[in-house]
């Protein structure tokens, strides 16, 4: 009469009684460790975190000491306490080995807790892990089903690749066990092993087939799960299992048609878990396979129509059915049925169901657009749902449904949605509205109205691409310019402090078309009162002085005001306002203030020509990015469009020279909210190899807009009249070189590239051959100290090639010179511009200067 023969029934067994007595004796020697529930009570009674920590630490110390003393009797209780402590968040790694000892024990209680500890405390990364493998192997061969069950469960939870490889054979054997309890656990264990180590799949294939002919639901469901994983794992296995489709259909049918089975019933549905798993497997098998799909059509239709939908269970099954129908090669009628089910889901009160429906519709809308259109009104209703996830889904789905027929109604709803939307949606929504408007707008006026509404509704959340889109559209649509300018004026007159983009667009339009604003005809005015000059100028003054408007907006406004000086008659007032900005603390505004003031003073004669209206801008689609209109840079490309080829290169060159600026002109794509700094870097590297760090100069978007409008002005200028080079150099060199009026020397070769703080750099040009010009650079030191570590660097636009020969030296003595030769090749015969960086050390100070030279005579290339 052995203990093992009778399982764990210790009564009336000599050996067991002996054991019990021994343990009792031990216990008398040592005090009983605290019970688990007492520890939990104590910890919960702690009023502060510090108190809790002290209780925990005390107990941990005690537990540690018992581990050292190899206490067999209470080990399980101590580990249980340790696991509780671990769940609270305290470290418990010292318990790992003890778990192993528990697992190796013969007592079921010990094993139960030991395996739980293993699953909680160990993960694949520990090496204690490997020691378990032996214990597992033993337990997988135990005569007690529950012990085998524990081992399989643990293996399924924490199997590492090595463990999986070692024990796969055992698991496979157990899959064929006569005990259903073991079989189902072994099947799922195999599922986990295959997930970890896909190569081991072959071993389990033979045993898997028979799992489907079971009656036991547990084995069935685990078998189906296993087969699904195998099929997703390898296409060959997928083909191998295609022949079970009829079996699956039969099982499913039996489930549906069989009567009430109390054991597996959930709210009137027979074993929904199994049904869903089978449906999923059918989906995997039927994908891309017409024959298999055909075999399932009937059963799918049957499930779709027969399932009770009053409870969540029924909807779960319907959901899975719809997913399957959508994925396989089902016939048209079935797909319509599926979409209708989703439509019904949308009307369901349960928000989970609505969410699931919207999600699925989003995935299938591109495949079955017409079917989904039918539910458009319901989807639009969902835009007003209180749950934010549902609103988001409904919004995305709405955009997918817009077409030329429904654009007006959809847009109305979407604009209402935009007004009330949460900030995180506004940016995405507005960009999407703009895109859709561009694609499907019925006419220009409607398009412009919509854009205006977007600018008003989305306020500051509008992305930059919307501003440029709007500006481009206005400039293109000559017929509507008066109308839209009036509308923008109306919008501007209201509270616009949180609508900076709107201000930018409005002031741009008013600046351009100020004369139309004043002289608007009756049809255009409709509900807007024509403003007078003074009203406009007063509003501008308000905008410019308001601290809530950001610098970019003010830049737009200031530029626009200057333009108005040619369209309005009250130039004095305008001049006054503009000149006050020449002492603005903000450098961008100050620069504009100063330079525009010049237009009223010294260069009065140029003003009208300079500020003429821009020609319509063309839309320049960037590659295949859906309608990313590259607004500002298009302005440049357009304006230089007199002689397209040459001018385009010139504009590219100009943009390239400004390095980061040009790329920051690129529109931020709607799904890419990050500023395009990485792009700018690569642009720079192409061009400014020598001057890598130069782009640190002017990288902020603010500055870009500055240069945009700055360039805008220059380029406007390029159209009608040839500007004296002085102004150009002012705009582009900016900062402190405005006093450096470069004398354009008509007889070729020398030009003054740089002159500051006693360092003067002269370029002497020499034509080498057709495309090459040699520049002799002479740097002169007009100070009384040495300039040491003199470094001269230059960069040219992409279309040029630059070669720099070694300088004559790096130290310039007082009144001394250093020379260097540059060779420039210009295959495209464009205008040469060069950016220079000069650095040297004088009197212990490090000096760094940067400048641009654009005054190269053009005829040197001829």
């Amino acid at each position: 009469m052995n203990a093992s023969e009778h399982g764990f029934n210790p009564s009336f067994n000599m050996a067991t009684i002996k054991q019990v007595i021994n343990e009792a004796v031990e216990r008398v020697r040592m005090p009983t460790p605290m019970r688990l529930r007492d520890l939990i009570r104590q910890i919960r009674a702690a009023r502060t975190a510090a108190e809790e920590r002290s209780v925990v630490n005390k107990e941990c110390a005690y537990i540690r000491s018992t581990f050292r003393e190899e206490d067999i009797v209470w080990r399980c209780r101590n580990i249980a306490k340790l696991l509780y402590i671990h769940m609270l968040g305290y470290p418990a790694h010292f318990g790992q080995l003890e778990c192993l000892k528990l697992i190796a024990s013969q007592r079921f209680t010990d094993k139960r807790i030991g395996y739980l500890g293993a699953m909680l405390l160990l993960d694949e990364r520990q090496d204690v892990h490997l020691l378990i493998t032996n214990c597992l192997k033993n337990d997988l061969n135990s005569s007690t089903q529950f012990v085998i069950g524990l081992a399989l469960c643990t293996l399924g939870a924490i199997a590492s690749p090595e463990m999986a490889r070692d024990l796969a054979g055992e698991v496979e054997r157990l899959m064929k066990s006569p005990n259903a309890y073991i079989r189902k656990k072994a099947a799922l264990c195999a599922y986990r092993i295959i997930k970890r180590v896909p190569e081991l799949m072959e071993i389990f294939l033979p045993a898997t087939r028979s799992l489907l002919s079971e009656k036991n639901h547990g084995v069935l469901i685990t078998g189906v799960t296993l087969i699904t994983e195998m099929c997703e794992n390898s296409p060959d296995t997928l083909n191998h299992f295609k022949k079970i489709v009829p079996n699956l259909v039969r099982i499913l049918k039996n489930l549906i048609l069989a009567g009430y089975s109390p054991e597996h019933d959930v709210s009137g549905v027979s074993d929904p878990f199994l049904q869903v798993k089978i449906l999923k497997l059918l989906r995997v098998l039927g994908k891309n396979d017409v024959d298999a799909s055909e075999a399932m059509n009937d059963i799918l239709a049957q499930v779709a129509t027969n399932t009770e939908t009053s409870k969540n269970v029924g909807n779960t099954i319907l959901y899975e059915t719809v997913l399957s129908i959508m994925d396989i090669k089902s016939e048209g009628g079935l797909r319509v049925l599926a979409v209708n089910i989703l439509g019904r889901f949308l009307l369901n009160n349960d928000k989970n169901i609505r969410y699931v429906a919207l999600n699925t519709l989003l995935r299938t809308v591109h495949v079955d657009t017409s079917a989904v259109q039918r539910h458009r009104s319901t989807i639009l209703e969902c835009l007003k749902d209180p749950d934010v996830s549902i609103r988001k889904r409904a919004m995305e789905l709405s955009f997918a449904l817009i077409n030329t027929q429904n654009i007006r109604t959809m847009m109305k709803e979407l604009l209402t949605f935009l007004e009330k939307a949460d900030p995180e949606f506004k940016a995405q929504c507005s960009s999407n509205i703009v895109l859709s408007a561009e694609r499907y707008s019925p006419n220009k006026k409607w398009h412009l109205d919509t854009l205006l509404k977007v600018l008003v509704a989305a306020g500051n959340y509008v992305r930059d691409d919307v501003i440029t889109c709007t500006i481009q559209l206005i400039s293109e649509t000559t017929s509507q310019q008066a109308y839209i300018t009036l509308q923008l004026w109306k919008a501007l007159s209201e509270d616009v402090t949180d609508k900076q983009p709107l201000i930018s667009v409005a002031t741009w339009a008013i600046g351009e078309f100020g004369d139309l604003l004043l002289s608007a005809s009756v049809e255009d005015t409709s509900d807007v009162v024509k403003p007078s000059e003074d009203e406009v100028i007063d509003l501008y003054q308000k905008l410019l002085w308001s601290p809530q408007n950001n610098t970019v907006t003010k830049q737009y406004t200031l530029t626009s005001l200057t333009k108005l000086s040619t369209r309005f008659t009250s130039t004095n007032k305008i001049q006054q306002i503009v000149s006050t900005f020449s002492s603005s603390l903000n450098i961008e505004l100050q620069q504009r203030g100063v330079e525009f003031s010049q237009l009223f003073g010294k260069h009065e004669s140029l003003r009208s020509a300079l500020l003429e209206r821009m020609p319509p801008m063309e839309l320049n689609r960037q590659t295949d990015d859906e309608m990313q209109t590259n607004g500002e840079s298009d302005m440049h490309e357009m304006k230089l469009d007199d002689s397209p080829q040459h001018r385009n290169t010139e504009s590219n060159a100009l943009l390239d020279l400004l390095g980061s600026d040009s790329s920051d002109l690129d529109i931020i794509k709607p799904n890419n909210p990050m500023p395009t700094q990485p792009v700018s870097n690569s642009n720079n590297q192409d061009l400014l190899d020598l001057l890598g760090g130069l782009d640190t100069l002017s990288v902020t978007p603010m500055t870009n807009d500055t240069t945009n409008t700055g360039i805008g002005l220059i380029l406007e200028n390029n159209n009608p009249i040839q500007m004296p080079i002085t102004n150009n150099s002012n705009f582009l060199t900016g900062d402190f070189l405005s006093t450096n009026i470069l004398s354009v020397e008509q007889d070729l070769p020398t030009l003054n590239a740089f002159d500051k703080d006693g360092l003067k750099i002269m370029f002497a040009l020499e034509k080498m051959d057709n495309n090459t010009v040699s520049i002799n650079v002479t740097a002169t030191n007009n100070t009384l100290s040495n300039m040491s570590e003199f470094l001269f660097q230059a960069a040219v636009p992409k279309s040029f090639q630059l070669q720099m020969l070694s300088p004559s030296g790096t130290v310039i003595l007082p009144n001394g010179v250093v020379t260097q030769v540059l060779r420039v090749v210009n295959p495209s015969k464009s205008m040469l511009r060069m950016r220079l960086r000069i650095s040297y050390s004088i009197d212990g100070n490090q000096v760094q200067e940067q400048t641009e030279v654009n005054t190269f005579p053009t005829d040197i290339w001829d």
């Binding site: 764990f8 029934n9 210790p10 009564s11 019990v20 009792a24 216990r27 009983t32 019970r35 688990l36 919960r44 009797v73 399980c76 209780r77 249980a80 696991l83 769940m87 968040g89 209680t109 139960r112 739980l116 993960d123 694949e124 990364r125 007690t144 529950f146 069950g149 399924g156 939870a157 309890y181 656990k185 799922l188 986990r192 639901h217 547990g218 469901i221 685990t222 799960t225 054991e263 597996h264 959930v266 074993d271 929904p272 878990f273 199994l274 869903v276 798993k277 969540n312 269970v313 909807n315 779960t316 899975e320 997913l323 928000k351 989970n352 169901i353 609505r354 969410y355 699931v356 996830s389």
Partner: protein, 156 residues
């Protein structure tokens, strides 16, 4: 399923079951983040949310949140059913289960979960069978512990 978490309204963890290997630190981080995210959701919101690249399904029963993380191609509604089935099992076992039961008998909660799910997938769809298995194992434990003279043996 990738993992299941049970936590109280105050954010205290009551049960965590992970079906994928992660280092402890990462587990703590994920747990903390997820608990905060879910606790900030309003009661009217739907039970699903997207988090990292997983779908999170959660449901509140009295003072406990049951939260599961599933993969993109898993059925969310089915997960809700699984959670409900687990609660039913706990209810049957403890007799009208409440949070305290789970706190003081957390190891039993784990045992029941391990009879319902293995490797993140359902292993038994019959409530009766699961409860029977648990009862048998409990019996095994009891038989090991002779009552009478030496109570107090075992886990306590």
């Amino acid at each position: 399923m990738q993992f299941m978490l049970l936590f109280s309204r105050q954010g205290k963890l009551r049960l965590q079951k992970w079906y994928n290997a992660h280092p402890d630190k990462l587990k703590k981080k994920i747990t903390r983040e997820l608990i905060t995210t879910i606790l900030t959701r309003k009661p009217k919101m739907c039970s699903f949310l997207e988090w990292r690249d997983l779908k999170i399904v959660y449901k509140r029963y009295a003072s406990l949140y049951f939260c599961c993380a599933i993969e993109q191609n898993d059925n969310e509604l089915l997960t809700l059913e699984i959670i409900h089935r687990y609660v039913e099992l706990l209810d049957k076992y403890f007799g009208s289960v409440c949070e305290l039961d789970i706190i003081f008998n957390f190891e039993k909660a784990y045992f029941i979960l391990d009879e319902l799910l293995l490797g993140g997938e359902i292993q038994e769809t019959s409530k009766k069978t699961v409860l029977k298995a648990i009862a048998s194992q409990d019996l095994l434990q009891e038989e090991e512990t002779p009552q009478g003279f030496f109570e107090d043996h075992g886990l306590g």
